[in-house]
Assembly symmetry: C2
Homo-oligomer: 221 residues x 2
């Protein structure tokens, strides 16, 4: 657990609501409501808002307060292009660390559900598993700063925003790619792991290109 302070707690709670789509993209966060609900002061909530905004979870519009972040198509594409690099790097490094038992073990544990019988049912469940999978790669890469950076890219947020365009076929393809990546990493083949990961991300980028305009925010003000 990071900071044990009250504020960190609030930040986490709001973050969780966003990542689990209990708060959806574009939704407005009214100070009065949240202070009442959490039983905290406006000062504290506003500090939490600042932090959440700097971390990319919400957006602060002058004189209009906080809204759950909603990406434009261009922002989403930029984000996925960056992820392609960072996650390629992470997969490469992760593969190179699979000979360390502790690293290997925790990666195996985190990915074993990919090979279980249980089918992923809904979009919401997929989003959570997807996030867990990608996080596992970053953790296995052993660069904490990188993990932090990846977290700030808000994968669950954007997937939730685009969830209306997720089809069963896409989920199946994604799952298959996750398996390939996992096998490449576990085999210790860094080049293959990086290549598979980049392919996966390129496909995700193409997916974003095809999502109907209505799911995005119009102007990136």
């Amino acid at each position: 657990m990071s900071s044990t302070g009250k504020l960190a707690n609030i930040v986490e709670r709001i973050e969780t609501r966003i990542d689990t789509a209990r708060l959806v993209s574009g939704q407005r966060l009214i100070e009065a409501d949240l202070t009442r609900e959490f039983g905290i002061s406006r000062s504290l909530l506003r500090e939490a808002f600042r932090q959440l905004a700097a971390e990319g979870a919400i957006e602060l519009v002058p004189n209009r307060g906080a809204v759950v972040r909603r990406l434009s198509r261009n922002e989403a594409l930029e984000l996925f292009e960056i992820r392609t690099e960072l996650e390629g790097m992470a997969a490469r490094r992760a593969a190179g660390r699979m000979h360390e038992p502790a690293v290997r073990h925790s990666f195996e544990t985190a990915t074993q559900c990919l090979f279980s019988e249980a089918q992923t049912s809904g979009a919401q469940e997929y989003i959570a598993e997807n996030e867990a999978f990608h996080r596992a790669i970053f953790i296995a890469a052993g660069n904490d700063t990188l993990s932090d950076l990846a977290r700030k890219m808000r994968l669950p947020l954007i997937m939730s925003q685009l969830s209306g365009a997720l089809t069963a076929g896409i989920l199946a393809t994604s799952l298959e790619e996750h398996r390939s990546i996992t096998l490449a990493i576990l085999s210790g083949n860094a080049a293959q792991a990086e290549a598979a990961t980049r392919e996966h991300l390129v496909r995700a980028t193409q997916f974003v290109s095809g999502v109907p305009e209505s799911l995005f925010r119009s102007c990136p003000d």
Copy 2:
């Protein structure tokens, strides 16, 4: 100019002081001093602190307030490894955009001082020029999200923290590498631009490895 609010202004002013080493790594920021100096309330200052912390400029230690961020060696190395990827990507993309007149022109303008007679004198001046150069690459890459990310890596901050280990030789080598990168980008040779940039970053990483322990923070708490 981004947000026109009062808070954004305060954030910028503190940021500038850090980037120009008027506030140095590890230095403590006392709320009472800054509220008096800026003529603002504690609420506002504390919101600014939150944002600066989330952006990596300062660190908030529970019950001890804000200090200008001071990296451990490991954090610095992690940061440079990430930069190697992101800046390689940026250089590649920048090279691919040099045929667009506007992009080319602004990149040429930003880099022309690299080829002027004027020698960089002190470390402080080098740090500023170094930041400007690297930012120019990210801007030329045409991915705003990426530029933002790069900014949050706080190059001036870390260079300032390590400035005690900068020698004339290092500055000269760096300048030479900057020139090579610039030429590769201007030539539109993406592969070469990326390679040269990665080499430059790898050398920077090696530099970090050799810096005496005293310039780093001990435990990354």
